[in-house]
């Protein structure tokens, strides 16, 4: 088991390095660099020579006059030491910008995974045990709808309607009062209130899909002989279902957890952009459009690392469950 883990970890490292190189290159594909964009902005604002002065000075300061490989090397060496470079736009170290946001991204992602499982599993069970009845067909239809809706479309709509109908200004992750305030129980409650919309929006697709899978698995298991035996023994139906069948049917869902991580993280990115949440998504989009290279590069690296780690953990979990895999 340990050799398997070590092996997987070792494989992950060159992958991450390759990712860093590729992302760095892609980020700089658009023509011009951050400063060109910044000059444009300054110009729109002040419209005169002051913008040019600032630009020359900035160019030198940010090392944008160095070549790409040099920039990459200086960035990546810093990276390993925890120094992720500076963000041009915010004029602050990338370090200071990202940790909060990664935290919230993870919070939303995990929250939505949680939500997904909490809803999908019971609904899937219900659907399987009432197969072909009206409720099952309805749920099946709903699940297909749920899987097909582009969730990010819902984001702004939900927010607007929550505001219009219920008067709840659920923009961002905190209301103005708690923003920037130290953490208290009240702030936590505020956060949870605001989390609902992103979590629901994000979890929608996954919930529907998972429900189908749960239903399918359970139906499979319920068709097996040992279930008949259990019933024959006189066990109550719900005992049969929950204690015996579900336990077995749920196994594969655990391994899907790992595979859902990429979808969830990506989905979180786009939903946050739409809702303007202080998470990685909007920051990433802005930095890509600005060519704020160190910020963008770091964010992509971090997201990819999260993915790699997630996959790793899920593989390990799988290997633990299914011994055959360890010996491949």
């Amino acid at each position: 088991m340990t050799t398997y883990i070590i092996h997987r970890i070792l494989m992950a490292i060159p992958t991450l390095i390759a990712i860093s190189i590729v992302s760095f290159i892609i980020i700089q594909l658009p023509k011009g660099d951050y400063l060109d964009r910044r000059i444009q902005e300054l110009e729109e604002q002040y419209g005169d020579s002051s913008s040019m002065e600032m630009a020359a000075e900035l160019r030198q300061r940010y090392g944008l006059d160095k070549s790409m490989p040099q920039r990459y090397l200086s960035w990546i060496t810093g990276f390993v030491q925890g120094n992720f470079g500076d963000s041009f736009r915010y004029e602050v170290e990338v370090n200071q910008l990202i940790w909060d946001r990664i935290g919230f991204t993870l919070l939303i992602s995990i929250g939505s995974l949680f939500f997904t499982y909490i809803i999908a599993v019971p609904v899937g069970i219900y659907s399987a045990t009432h197969q072909y009845k009206f409720s099952d067909n309805l749920l099946t239809l709903l699940s297909f709808v749920g899987m097909s809706i582009p969730a990010f479309l819902l984001a702004l709509t939900l927010m607007v309607f929550a505001f219009e109908l219920f008067g709840l200004p659920l923009f961002g992750l905190f209301s103005s009062y708690y923003e920037g305030a130290p953490w208290t129980v009240g702030k936590l409650g505020d956060l949870i209130q605001h989390l609902w919309i992103p979590v629901i929006v994000l979890g929608l697709n996954g919930t529907a899909g998972l429900m189908r899978i749960m239903r399918g698995n359970l139906l499979d298991v319920l068709g097996q002989p040992f279930i008949q035996t259990a019933r024959a023994k006189g066990l109550k139906e719900w005992v049969v279902v929950v204690k015996h069948a579900v336990r077995l049917a749920i196994n594969p869902l655990v391994s899907i957890l790992g595979m859902s991580l990429p979808t969830i993280l990506s989905g979180a990115a786009i939903v946050s952009i739409v809702l303007g949440l202080p998470t990685v998504g909007p920051l990433l989009l802005r930095s890509l459009l600005d060519e704020d290279i160190y910020l963008a590069g770091t964010l992509i690296m971090l997201l990819s690392s999260l993915l790699v780690i997630g996959n790793l953990l899920s593989d390990i979990a799988l290997a633990w469950v299914d011994p055959r895999i360890r010996y491949e």
Binding site: P14, T15, L16, A18, I19, V22, S23, I26, I27, L29, P30, K31, F144, V145, M147, S148, I149, P150, F152, L153, L156, T157, V160, E164, I213, G216, N217, L219, D220, N251, P252, S255, I256, M259, P262, L265, S266, G267, A269, I270, I273, V274, L284, L285, L288, L289, A296, L299, I300, L303, S304, L307, V308, N311, D315, L318, A319, I325, E328
Partner: protein, 379 residues
């Protein structure tokens, strides 16, 4: 390794792990006719498919959608960029029917509310405009429906462009991007997957590493980065192709893995070894023996991948990184609706979400049906 025959393989409606009948030969190598009372694999699939009502419905819906998309000029009452100054943000109009006038629409009166300066439209019952069918206009274009007056069945947008027409023309882009992307993905993925699975060794490891790296990228950020990199001075068409390639690039990895798994499974089978022993070239073995076995599998995967592509294009255009005006796609239409003002005052502009939903759902149903049909474990 753990992902190729991953957890999904253990669920019921998953990809069948082998496509062989009990003689150990792939189904496709059996060529029989109905007279002998023996159905070939293909015919079996078709028979099972026909029983699946959802799948058939979905297929019909998709067929109709593609027909409409390809015949956009005919089906759309207006051109997608036809700006009509006087009819901005008109709410959806109704067809009216009377024995005297037949099918017709009313004209529109507009009044500007002084406080908010909004133009408010009301039907003007005095002005009656009959609706014509199969009308040929003065440039010789044939239109299904036409009228001299305003006939905006789904309302108009901020430039007075008919939403229904824009949705129909948008279908052209959105639905074909999916197909084209999947096509590229398929070709690329199958080839690489087959090579990887067949030759094994270093080639395999290299390709697998590359795929792993690709799959380790979170897809939306990768799309965003590539989308932002598309030079903006490219024409709309060039950008369209660029988007297609981007979408395909990001997704061929999964397909390649699946194909590789299959190829590796087949490679060990007797009939392949027999062919090799008989002196068949690699090419022959690959194309005549290995790949045919995977076709059905590939078709299923492709069908299920198309919705992902459509959603990908929608997402990219939504972020402003995809298709750009003057070209239009469903993603562009939805992006235009992403305003609080629109959501609250002109909600009909969100209607493009419905075709997206219907098409994606149909592909899902169809893919599901195909998967069930090709699953040898079904009854």
């Amino acid at each position: 390794m753990s992902n190729s025959s991953g957890p999904l393989a253990r669920t019921r409606s998953s990809d069948p792990d082998n496509n062989t009948d009990n003689t150990g030969l792939p189904f496709d190598s059996v060529v029989e006719s109905d007279e002998l009372g023996y159905l070939s694999y293909r015919q079996l699939i078709w028979k099972r498919l026909r029983k699946n009502q959802m799948g058939i419905t979905a297929a019909i819906i998709l067929l109709i959608s593609y027909m409409i998309a390809l015949g956009a000029n005919f089906f759309a009452p207006y051109h997608y960029n036809q700006i009509q100054m006087r009819y901005r943000h008109v709410p959806p109009q109704k067809f009216r029917f009377s024995l005297r006038h037949g099918l017709h629409v009313y004209g529109l009166k507009s009044v500007r509310t002084p406080e908010t300066r909004e133009l408010v439209f009301t039907p003007d019952e005095i002005k009656i405009f009959p609706v014509r069918f199969l009308y040929r206009d003065n440039q010789n274009g044939l239109h299904l429906l036409s009228s001299d007056g305003p006939m905006f069945l789904l309302g108009t947008d901020r430039m007075g462009r008919d939403l229904l027409s824009r949705i129909i023309y948008g279908a052209r882009v959105s639905m074909t991007v999916g197909l084209a992307g999947v096509f590229i993905s398929l070709i690329f993925g199958s080839i690489l997957g087959t090579i990887s699975g067949y030759f094994g060794g270093w080639t395999d490891t290299l390709i697998q590493r590359a795929i792993e790296i690709l799959l380790a990228f979170p897809s939306i950020p990768l799309w965003m980065a590539l989308g932002a990199a598309l030079p903006a001075e490219w024409s709309s068409v060039a950008i369209y192709f660029g988007i297609t390639v981007i979408l395909a690039l990001v997704s061929w990895g999964g397909l390649a893995r699946q194909v590789r798994g299959k190829v590796m499974a087949y490679r060990e089978l007797d009939f392949v070894k027999a062919a090799e022993a008989a002196g068949a070239s690699h090419w022959h073995v690959i194309t005549r023996h290995l790949m045919p076995g995977s076709y059905s599998h590939i078709i299923v995967i492709a069908t299920l991948a198309i919705p992902g592509m459509i959603l990908g294009e929608t997402a990219l255009s939504f972020l402003g990184l995809g298709i750009r005006p003057p070209m239009t796609s469903w993603g562009v239409l939805l992006e235009e609706a992403q305003r609080v003002t629109v959501l609250l005052h002109y909600p009909w502009l969100i209607l493009p979400a419905i075709p997206v939903l219907v098409v994606v759902m149909s592909f899902n149903f169809l893919g599901d049906a195909l998967r069930d049909a090709t699953d040898p474990y079904a009854d």
